[in-house]
Amino acid sequence: MTTPILETQALTMRFGGLVAVNNFSMQMGDTDLVGVIGPNGAGKTTIFNMITGIYEPTEGDVRLSGKSLVGEQVALITQKGIARTFQNIRLFKDLTVLDNIRLAGHSRMKYGLIANILRTKKFHEEESRLKEEAIKLLKIFKLENKMDHLAKNLPYGEQRKLEIARALATKPKVLLLDEPAAGMNPNETADLTKLIKWVRDEFQIAILLIEHDMRLVMEVCERIYVVDHGELIAHGNPSEIQNNPKVIEAYLGAQSEEGEQ
């Protein structure tokens, strides 16, 4: 196996006495589509926050193509190639759809503050390049006609698409999706399933997905990690996971033991 694009080793997070995540290890290839599932409070979002640098792990390591990310600033981790969406959509509500996308491209802009003020030739070149890229991306997501709308005025489904588009605008190597299907009705979820697969193929990037919607996970993910009370309890492809006793027990509670008595 070549060096994985994203890898965590014995990742652990303690808040005071509470162990939120204990010894979580996983690997992802360049274009893998992997899911992380588990009951509420299992520590999934904490894992996400450790990978993206919002929390610094108490122990263990996070590596992007072999290089450790622990202790780096969130912004630098994003620039290195890990983009994310949020469970409760965090768009720049009062800014236009176009500005939301343009902001994601900020770190790659090549003109300084003075050029920004004096609006030099370099400024205009860079701005028009950024704008074209943004419009191209919006076309792909069929949002280009809503370019000047404020983000908060978009319908829920389109806001979710915009958030994914914005994450992609940072040109990531790995895209982290935090419960993208939350609050979606069945056919919206169906569109989302197609969209996620299509994004992985179109942009040739790895996608790590946290999700509760089993149909989406089983349909989309090639490999799945199952986490319960901060511990990794199972790992494998969708069919293995579906009939793994530990997974069922974690999800359905102690029913299977009663069954045995």
Binding site: F15, T45, N49, I54, Y55, F86
Partner: protein, 299 residues
């Protein structure tokens, strides 16, 4: 050599006595800040003015011949009622709008009381009638005046009552519940609006008490008197751990003593600057204050 050493200790005790007296007053005002912040996360800029209003109610009661034991509660209740009114009319409608609009409204209310006071009562300092005969007691070389003792005793008594009220009564339990989680408290059937006005009432009553005590201690009152002590009391509340009731007391006493030591052993010109420096240091090093725990912001 020994003579300087004894002088040093006498001075030190004298500064401690002065510091504890001044600190008690800061603590009484700081309690109001901490309780209000604990409940609705609002830095009540106008709290210093409730202290001023309490002082003037006490002043006018004493001038009209009312004895101290009547003027004192009158000032507390009066300041408390003003606070309830302010909360109902000004703070309640703005509460949902977030912390900055609430802070700005509090700022506006504070200015309103200061300049209204100056317009109505007049800017010149009023001489507070000395309600009780002043007597000084000697502890070796250290001098303690009767007012200082009264301040410390009354402050201690009020804190004991407050501690009992918050921890051993039904309303106290409701107050603590509301400060932990307002929505959950509402679900449990607690009328949070009533609790919030009650908290404002208690906070302002304590500040009113501080106002009368200051009137007796420094025998002066003027409409702008609330500004600096108000800020200092806020520093004390943050020093002790904003939102934590015993923290306000500790913060107040520590700040009072620190100020007097600075004046005593160093030059007094930088006394206020040092108080602000303490505030900024706490905010940076241990924002939760002496008693508080640092809480990570949840994403």
């Amino acid at each position: 050599m020994s003579e300087n050493v004894t002088y040093f200790f006498y001075d030190l005790f004298q500064y401690l006595v002065n510091g504890l007296a001044q600190g008690s007053i800061y603590a009484l005002i700081a309690l109001g800040y901490t309780m209000v912040y604990g409940i609705i996360k609002l830095i009540n800029f106008a709290h210093g003015e409730f202290y001023m209003i309490g002082a003037f109610i006490g002043f006018y009661c004493l001038v009209s011949g009312m004895p101290l034991w009547m003027a004192f509660p009158a000032a507390m209740i009066g300041a408390g009622l003003v606070a309830v009114l302010v909360e109902k009319i000004v703070y309640r409608p703005i509460r949902h709008a977030g912390r900055i609009p609430a802070l700005i409204t509090a700022l506006g209310t504070s200015l309103l009381f200061q300049y209204l006071g100056q317009g109505v009562i007049g800017a010149d300092p009023k001489a507070f009638p000395s309600a009780i005969a002043e007597k000084t007691y000697m502890l070796g070389e250290v001098i303690i005046t009767r007012t200082q003792i009264i301040i410390m005793v009354v402050t201690f008594a009020l804190m004991v009552i407050l501690y009992w009220l918050v921890n051993h009564t039904k309303t106290g339990k409701a107050m603590r519940a509301t400060s932990f989680n307002m929505n959950a408290a509402e679900l449990m059937g607690i009328n949070t609006n009533k609790i919030i006005s009650f908290t404002f009432f208690i906070g302002a009553a304590l500040a009113g008490a501080a106002g009368v005590l200051v009137g007796m201690y420094y025998n002066t009152a003027e409409p702008m008197m609330g500004l600096i002590p108000g800020l200092k009391a806020f520093i004390a509340a943050v020093l002790g751990g904003i939102g934590i009731i015993p923290g306000a007391v500790i913060g107040g006493l520590v700040l009072g003593v620190a100020e007097n030591l600075v004046v005593g052993f160093w030059i007094s010109t930088y006394r206020d600057a040092i108080a602000f420096a303490i505030l900024i240091l706490i905010l940076l090093i241990k924002p939760a204050g002496i008693l508080g725990k640092n809480r990570k912001e949840k994403v």
